[in-house]
């Protein structure tokens, strides 16, 4: 078991999948000689060559669309969108093509591909290098949407995504790329797409989160534990299709639910979780379902005071936990 960073886990997953299956290739902006602007593909160009680690023209629709075409032919593309904020030009290819291909061809054509995109703020990236966009895609049957929060999950889930026969959107918490460290096994392993993960067992209330906010939630849970609040934490990991069984089991046990995400509140992913709980666990609730989310402004501002105002952190999450615990 070696301790590595989240981005090293992402890189290891791609390295091992490239080695395992010759149909796997990487395509994206600056993924080749540069090794990606975050260094996710560092060394892979030298190891596997320019035919398997391909620098694309600067056009996101074509990164995804070329990936779809190659996947239809039987390849296993890993498409990198440099920042999630740049995924919008590829929206049509993702929503209308990749997601609908299997259904619209009655299963004759499927699109086994991964679209990786670093997401999230708190890194001084302003409006267009900070966005959290999961809610745009968790409304779309045909896609799978995955967000890891630890190196172990990042590696295991990305390997599963590469092997999945469907299009998988894989959002990586970029603030956590080097901040989040953790142990991963030395040998081969995968983490299945689908199941959520109870990462902290507790009895007073449940916090549901994912990605960077899950990392902060665990810190917040430790803080409030000293005050006697016993928090259960569920890392959703796969946002679509979501693991309703695990999340309902947890809320039935604790009777209180807080959903935390960095994306803005209205129409955000938390609304779906809240609705699921309200519909299926209403009689088990001891308090209204709470959501703690980014504010309803267009995106994260650049200047530090404004960025801090936008961003959630362990202290803000701890405060929301205290409020819910008091109810």
């Amino acid at each position: 078991m070696a301790e590595i960073t989240l981005i090293e886990a992402v890189r290891q997953a791609m390295d091992e999948e490239l080695a395992r299956d010759e149909n796997v290739f990487i395509v994206g902006e600056d993924v080749g000689r540069r090794g990606g602007v975050f260094r996710a593909t560092l060394g892979l160009f030298d190891k596997y060559g320019g035919e398997r680690v391909i620098d694309s023209p600067l056009a996101e629709a074509s990164i995804v669309g070329v990936g779809i075409g190659a996947a239809l032919y039987g390849m296993r593309p890993i498409c990198e969108i440099q920042f999630a904020d740049f995924i919008h030009p590829a929206f049509n290819q993702i929503i209308n093509e990749a997601a609908k291909m299997c259904y619209r061809s009655n299963g004759d054509w499927t699109v086994p591909m991964v679209i990786r995109a670093p997401y999230g703020g708190g890194i001084g990236g302003g409006l267009y290098h900070s966005q959290s966009l999961e809610a745009l895609f968790t409304h779309t049957p045909g896609l799978k949407v995955v967000i890891p929060s630890s190196p172990y999950d990042a590696k295991g889930l990305l390997k599963s995504a590469v092997r999945d026969p469907n299009p998988v959107l894989f959002f990586e918490p970029k603030k956590g790329y080097r901040l989040i460290k953790g142990k991963v096994p030395d040998g081969e392993y995968t983490v299945p797409i689908g199941p959520a993960n109870v990462t902290r067992v507790g009895g007073d209330l449940t916090v549901f989160s994912y990605g960077m906010m899950h990392y902060y939630t665990l810190q917040a849970a430790e803080q409030v534990a000293k005050e006697g609040i016993d928090v259960e934490v569920v890392d959703l990991r796969t946002l679509y299709p979501v693991d309703r069984q695990t999340l309902l089991a947890s809320v039935r046990k604790t009777g209180k639910a807080l959903i935390v995400h960095e994306d803005n509140l209205t129409g955000g992913y938390g609304a779906e979780i809240a609705a699921t709980i309200a519909e299926q666990a209403f009689s088990d609730l001891d308090a209204p379902v709470r959501r703690l989310a980014g504010p309803d402004v267009p995106a994260v501002p650049f200047s530090h005071p404004m960025q801090d105002w936008f961003m959630l952190n362990p202290a803000k999450i701890a405060e929301a936990i205290r409020q819910l615990a008091r109810y």
């Binding site: 056009a59 779809i68 032919y73 209308n96 259904y103």
Partner: protein, 327 residues
């Protein structure tokens, strides 16, 4: 590649069959037996000329909605088309999920497409990339209307193929109208073939009402692509004799005189004149073809009318590859 007399007769037969199938669809629409038809009348020479330049069933095709003749040449049958017009379960493109003329035929390597235009152009380049990565000698042919060459995704797709010298043949079927909008409102160049100049691939313009001229031009492009010399862009020019679709009223944007005038350059008429002059077909042979076509189409309509609709809850599947049920 030279065409034998048999080849030429076969090409004429496919054009004639496509025309008569298409005309029957209009009749069925007027009879209230089908809800929608989008026509390829006037496009037969371009599509059959292109189809015969391929190794059909070996090479790949990403088509667009006017490609009835092309699809028939690839193995889609008149009965398949009638099933599709009526939304019957056995329709091979989508099992009744897609509107008619949204083609897919897995066994012929003809890929499913959507309705937002030019998405298929990028898929063609992705397939071309996969062929190149696997060092195979297949080619990809993709078709599109001239209006759709305004789309960003079209440029992105063609650019990819040019940059990576992919084995793709980009066919533009310029029928003078994008629903109601003429080419001079789509582009500032006289032909979409001129756009090739800015993208770095050969751009050729050919008379799309002359099946043998199209065959010659596409054959050359196919040969280039197969030898690894890269993509070509070919504009085939014809006239859309029918309204855009059965829901369109073209009297609102063009005169009857204009339409009548263009009927003189009917590709079917052109081919017949050429073949009669060459002594390749006789009037009696053409009469025999007409009888044969009518028999096939009558039978196709009967088959489709008797065929069952999909079960209503077939609509629930297959959203994901895991749900595909192979019959």
């Amino acid at each position: 590649m030279d065409l034998s007399a048999d080849d030429k007769r076969e090409m004429y037969w496919m054009m004639l069959l496509a025309r008569r199938v298409d005309e029957r669809a209009w009749v069925l629409h007027r009879q209230g037996k089908i809800a929608f038809h989008i026509s390829g009348i006037g496009h037969e020479a371009a599509q059959i000329g292109a189809a015969f330049a391929l190794r059909r069933g070996y090479d790949w095709v990403t088509p667009y909605y006017r490609d009835l003749a092309l699809m028939l040449a690839l193995g889609y049958t008149p009965a398949d088309f009638m099933l599709s017009l009526m939304g019957k379960a056995a329709e091979p493109s989508s099992g009744g999920r897609q509107m008619p003329s949204h083609w897919s035929l897995r066994k012929a390597n003809a890929v499913s497409h959507s309705a937002p235009v030019a998405t298929q152009t990028i898929h063609a380049s992705g397939i071309g990339l996969a062929i190149k990565l696997r060092k195979e000698d297949k080619v990809v042919l993709t078709t599109i209307g001239e209006g759709s060459t305004s789309q960003g995704e079209w440029y992105e797709g063609v650019n990819w193929a040019a940059v990576h010298r992919l084995p793709v043949i980009f066919i533009v079927e310029n029928n003078q109208y994008a629903i109601s909008v003429p080419p001079e409102m789509q582009m500032a160049v006289p032909s979409s073939a001129d756009k090739a100049c800015g993208l770095g691939l050969p751009g050729i313009m050919v008379d799309g009402t002359d099946v043998f001229a199209v065959f010659a031009a596409v054959s050359k492009a196919v040969e280039r692509a197969r030898k690894g010399e890269g993509p070509s862009l070919i504009e085939t020019r014809m006239y859309r004799i029918t309204p855009h679709s059965s829901d369109d009223d073209d009297r609102t944007y063009r005169s009857r005189e204009e339409v009548e005038d263009h009927k003189k350059s009917d590709p079917l008429l052109n081919a017949r004149q050429t073949l009669e002059k060459e002594g390749v077909v006789t009037g009696a042979q053409i009469d025999e073809m007409e009888t044969r076509a009518k028999g096939i189409i009558d039978e196709a309509v009967k088959t489709a009318e008797a065929a069952p609709y999909p079960a209503d809850d077939d609509a629930a599947y297959p959203v994901y590859a895991e749900e595909v049920r192979r019959g």
